[in-house]
Amino acid sequence: MYPSAFRYHRAGSLREAVSLLSELGEDARALAGGQSLIPLMKLRLARPAALVDLNFISGISHIRRNESGIFVGTLARHAEIAASEIAGTIPILHDCAAGIADAQVRNRGTIGGSLAETDPSGDWAPVLLTLSTEVRCMGPKGERTIPLADFIVDAYTTVMERAELVQEIIVKIPPKNSGGAYLAFKRCPSVYASASAAVQLTMLDRDSCQDARVQLGCVGLTPVRATEAEAELRGKVLSPRAIQSAADAAMAAADPQPDMRGSVEYKCVLVGALLKRAIEIAIRRSRGERVEVGHEYTGRN
């Protein structure tokens, strides 16, 4: 399959990429990992007149840390984040990165590309929304830093203007007594999840929750923040009953579309079950336990 013909530009820096995109006009697109854009172009669902390739720009694939946060360059591949010890200090980042699609896609796909695309089934947005995350962008008017919750506007829509690019993702390091987990269920490895649940808990002590953040993926046009589920956890002893109440609230908050991945009822039940287990794992992690979770599918083990 051949995409429509396009002009190809290899940017040497992010600044140059922004200028090129400004000059080339509306029909130009930035090419990061290409794992969504290239298939769309092959099916001719996308026909950009020009591509500006970001893959040859150095210095935008970093994963750094200081005392307050983790800084991830826009071109960091999912596989690089999965292998990063720095990213691994926030386990939910590893849960997400290590299970996106398959090994080959993780070697190409980038965190900046994923956030810029804002697919309703994308993995990064729900995960990063349970943490305090900001997106640093570079555009024709300069740089700006936007909280992730404000960055995402709708399905496939961000606040970024034409020729504006994601430069860096900044994740605030959660407090010591916290734990998070991300669970996604997919029909097979190479596809988007049918539903996913991300949770980040800050614990007061072993069993009591001081604060909670719950995000559900694939069950709305954007990640769904389940505030009622958060309220069932915040300030509570996390008994099985409290966890079940949170899962019930999440099921009520989910607003999925029926599609080949499942019916509305199925996805609601699935997201509730995923959240329940994610909360249990987040509690264990808040106590310092190492637990490996992430994407699940038939045949993985």
Partner: protein, 150 residues
């Protein structure tokens, strides 16, 4: 060489360079039959433009054997009946090569995750997994995947 921007890496390999060992299976970034190593990392060559391999190193299945001698991964697949129709095999060999370049002693779970992006429509997965375990054993300590001299 000069290529049209829209030429996919897999088309460059097959149509321009006559390296037809890399197969096109689904052409929709799903099946992994077209897997090659680009600068040491496994990629689906149907989802990378040829221009993106500019000044890069591409290792295809043709680059595994050396001096007419099969690569240990190929031997392991042959000896363990790790293929039936063989269509998915080049991709699986390259995914295995990538796995073993990163991880000398993969666990069962790591092996399964490593080839999760490769679909075998004959469903011969049990012997494929067996072949990958055998390849890891065969390559022992020195399992760095090296391209041949060509």
């Amino acid at each position: 060489m000069v290529v049209e921007p829209r030429l996919l890496l897999v088309e460059l390999l097959r149509e321009e360079l006559n390296l037809t060992g890399t197969h096109i299976g689904c052409d929709t970034s799903y099946c992994g039959a077209c897997t090659v190593l680009l600068n040491g990392a496994s990629v689906k060559s149907c989802t990378v433009f040829a221009v993106q391999a500019h000044e890069g190193e591409v290792l295809t299945v043709e680059g595994l054997a050396r001096n007419g001698e099969l690569h240990p991964i190929q031997k392991a697949f042959s000896e363990n009946h790790g293929l039936q129709c063989g269509f998915c095999t080049p991709g699986l060999l390259m995914s295995t090569a990538y796995l073993l370049s990163k991880n000398r002693h993969p666990s069962e779970s790591e092996i399964r995750k490593a080839v999760a992006g490769n679909t075998c429509r004959c469903t011969g997965y049990q012997n494929i997994l067996k072949a990958i375990r055998a390849a890891a054993d065969l390559m022992g300590a020195d399992n760095k995947v090296k391209p041949n001299a060509d």
